[in-house]
């Protein structure tokens, strides 16, 4: 910032300081710098104020709260919350529901993220190479779920998955197959939500990959083909390695999003049946807003935060761009 504003600001300083500094011949060096910093602070104040009030303060407050027994009573008397040390954290790991929620979230991420990335890449490849006609149509088709509100999505998907007169059940009946009650069965509820989440998030990943694919130089591809590489080899040796930065970004973003999964189970199953789709965020919401165990819910938030941080760092290490 100081680099770009430098010349203009010192220019102003010259005109202003001329009268008083005329006899000296050289202008003073220190004053413009002070003004620079002031301008800098002024420009960043709106951001700093908003960030401090709505991000930093809550983040710090949540951390402090996670060491207290902050509950419904403390809403009117916040300072009466008792400090309980690490109790919330130790209780968390004895809490069956939380452990179930952790497992469910892991299930969702481990199955969902690779599925989203692979399908996203496949769709991007097809749209980039295979399909020439109606390309825009398909792009819009795949991206539309991303911008559609979850409530509308939930209504449609509930209808699709309805065991008595849903789309899937109807198709099953035509083929003479008895389809399971997707959202009502503890075994099928989570896979159903994963499929829905993959469909919802495919668009984002696809757009990222299309941008990445278009940045792959045609010369490299041509050279590979001249050397006799087939489609599969071209994909494995050329496309995927060159897409690595994009892949890393898509993986990190999708993983963080999926670790925080909340909306899908919230609108589709409410965490049921039998807590089969209870995720960490949903459990946190329940504890925080239904039961008002704010301290406990804050501890959950921090455990989730540490998990996300750890996984993200790991991904950044593993998928680092080694070609440079």
């Amino acid at each position: 910032m100081s680099l770009t504003t430098g010349p203009a600001a010192s220019g102003a300083a010259v005109t202003k300081t001329t009268p008083e500094g005329a006899g000296a011949g050289r202008r003073p060096r220190r004053r413009p710098l002070g003004r620079h910093t002031l301008h800098g602070w002024l420009f960043s104040t709106p951001f700093l104020a908003l960030f401090g009030l709505f991000m930093l303060f809550p983040i710090v407050a949540t951390l402090l709260m996670s060491f207290t027994d902050f509950g419904a009573r403390n809403v009117t008397r916040p300072l009466e919350a008792q400090f309980v040390g690490l109790d919330n954290y130790t209780h968390l790991f004895e809490d069956d529901r939380f452990l179930t929620a952790l497992f469910n979230t892991a299930y969702f991420v481990v199955v969902g993220v690779p599925l989203t990335l692979v399908l996203g890449l496949l769709v991007a490849l097809l749209l980039n190479n295979g399909i020439d006609r109606a390309r825009t149509f398909f792009r819009v088709g795949f991206y539309a779920p991303v911008v559609t509100t979850i409530v509308a999505v939930a209504v449609v998907w509930r209808f699709v998955l309805d065991p008595s007169d849903g789309l899937v059940a109807g198709l099953g009946a035509e083929l003479g197959v008895q389809v399971p009650d997707f959202l009502g069965s503890p075994t099928w509820a989570m896979p159903s939500l994963i499929v829905m989440a993959v469909w919802r998030n495919l668009g984002t990943v696809m757009v990222l990959f299309i941008a990445g694919l278009q940045a792959v130089p045609t010369e490299v591809r041509e050279a590979a083909r001249l050397d006799g590489a087939g489609t599969w080899q071209e994909l494995r040796r050329i496309t995927v390695p060159l897409l690595r930065p994009t892949l890393l970004y898509a993986a990190v973003i999708t993983t963080i999003g999926y670790l925080n999964v909340f909306e899908e189970p919230f609108v589709m199953t409410q965490g049921g049946p039998s807590d089969a789709t209870l995720t960490v965020s949903l459990d946190m919401y329940r504890e925080g807003f239904n039961f008002f165990h704010m301290g406990y819910a804050s501890a959950m938030a921090y455990v989730l935060f540490v998990v996300i941080m750890g996984i993200t760092v790991l991904q950044l290490r593993l998928l680092k761009d080694n070609t440079r």
Binding site: L53, F54, M55, F57, P58, I59, A61, T62, M65, F70, A72, R73, N74, V75, T76, R77, P78, R158, D162, P163, D181, L183, G184, S185, P186, I253, I256, G257, N260, V261, F262, E263, M268, T269, Q270, G272, P273, S274, D275, S281, M284, Y285, G288, F289, N290, F291, F292, M294, A297, S298, A301, L304, F305, I308
Partner: protein, 414 residues
């Protein structure tokens, strides 16, 4: 991207809790009832929409008072109330759902009711109990609801039944008869699991003589009576007479209309829902008392009206509540909303006294029970929800499920 939603929203509530308390807490001794003033009132759902009309009439009779009614949706009501209580900015008069009252009374956000002017005997006992927490009364009962048995009379004839099932044993055989003789898909609709399953289980529990908490607030959910009730409840699922999985947002009236579900336990609001949506069904269904086990006891719900502890207009607020809860006001409210009056005297005249199906509601209401007000009520009932679910899904026995719930609830109330 989603992290803001999860961590942030919890944190934001704290922010409002911490920063707003500073500006809360109103001083002043309050304004007399006959001074010129504005009363703020929050009411939820349908009540919120209809209360505005009553408020207008009230203003005509009381020129010095203007009543400002704010309707609040049930889905956001709890959070809004908590935020307002944290800020010390609750409205003068607020509608309290039965499960909320204990929590807000415990926070010290509500003003106790003056029991010298508002008499306990005027209301249904269960309704009064809902407004009471820790020996003090904070809410004046406004309207009540309970659950009774809705059943298809035409299908009952087909199934060879003579009238509604009178006992719990009859209910089992009636459900089987509907299924086998009248060819209905299910016998009865009961909630198999998920949030507030306990609402559907209460009539079984109370009729068997069980309870979740006794009058002293001690957990008694694994009593022999409660275990028996849960076995009865689970039997419908074992025998395939009730659907084991129900999607969120399931509307029972649709299946009731098609005949897939010939019986369900429902509240008074179901009556207007059926009348409005399926006018052709009229005459083909009826309500009957909850089938008796030891007795026929249903669950009492409803709302009461409370005054904020910080209100400056307590005198006027009391007068307004008085107006809404006296027999005349209650009968007028019934005409507008079809909400069942909490005031017993209101039932002595007009349609409320004459209509035969309303007699069923009234009789059910007189014996209805309620769980004692408790700040942790939502959490306590959620433990029972899980117990019921594990039984309906055939994972554990009723005894084992309720023993687990008992120990969990003891940890909460202990």
């Amino acid at each position: 991207m989603h992290r803001a939603a999860a961590t942030g929203s919890i944190a934001l509530t704290l922010v409002s809790a911490l920063t707003l308390t500073a500006c809360g807490g109103s001083g002043g001794k309050g304004v007399a009832a006959d001074a010129k003033q504005t009363l703020t009132v929050w009411a939820m759902g349908t009540e919120g929409e209809k209360l505005g009309d009553v408020a207008k009439e009230y203003q005509k009779a009381h020129a010095n008072i203007s009543v400002k009614v704010t309707p609040v949706g049930w889905d956001v009501a709890h959070q809004k109330l908590v935020a307002a209580a944290a800020a010390g900015k609750l409205p003068d008069v607020v509608q309290m759902g039965g499960t909320y009252l204990g929590e807000f009374a415990d926070m010290g956000a509500l003003e106790p009711v003056d029991t010298k002017t508002v008499h306990e005997g005027d209301f249904f006992p269960a309704a009064w109990k809902q407004g009471t927490y820790d020996g003090k009364t904070y809410g004046v009962p406004w309207y009540v609801d309970t659950r009774t048995l809705f059943y298809r009379t035409d299908l009952a004839r087909k199934a060879g039944l003579k009238g509604a099932p009178a006992t719990m044993a009859d209910l089992q055989s009636a459900a089987a008869a509907f299924h086998s003789k009248a060819g209905t898909k299910w016998g009865i609709n009961l909630q198999p699991g998920g949030l507030d399953t306990v609402q559907s289980f209460y009539p079984f529990l109370y009729s068997a003589g069980g309870a979740i908490l006794d009058d002293q607030g001690k957990a008694v959910v694994n009593s022999p009576a409660a275990v028996h009730a849960l076995q009865e409840y689970g039997a419908f699922f074992d025998k395939g007479l009730s659907e084991k999985s129900v999607r969120p947002g399931y509307d029972v009236t649709k299946d009731f209309n098609t005949g897939a579900v010939p019986m369900f336990l429902g509240g008074p609001w179901m009556t207007s829902l059926l009348d409005d949506n399926y006018p052709n069904l009229k005459g083909k269904w009826a309500v009957a008392p909850v089938p008796a086990d030891k007795a026929s006891v249903s669950e009492a719900g409803g709302s009461s009206l409370a005054i904020s502890a910080d209100s400056d207009h307590k005198a006027a607020a009391r007068a307004f509540i008085q107006y809404l809860t006296d027999p005349q006001g209650q009968a007028d409210w019934y005409r507008r909303t079809k909400d069942l009056p909490a005031d017993v005297a209101a039932w002595k005249t007009g349609t409320l006294a004459a209509d035969p199906s309303l007699k069923v509601w009234r009789a059910q209401m007189e014996t209805a029970r309620t769980t004692p007000s408790q700040p942790k009520l939502t959490e306590i009932t959620s433990k029972v929800d899980s117990a019921i679910e594990s039984v309906t899904q055939g994972r554990t026995s009723a005894k084992a499920a309720l023993d687990k719930a008992q120990s969990e609830i003891e940890g909460l109330v202990g």
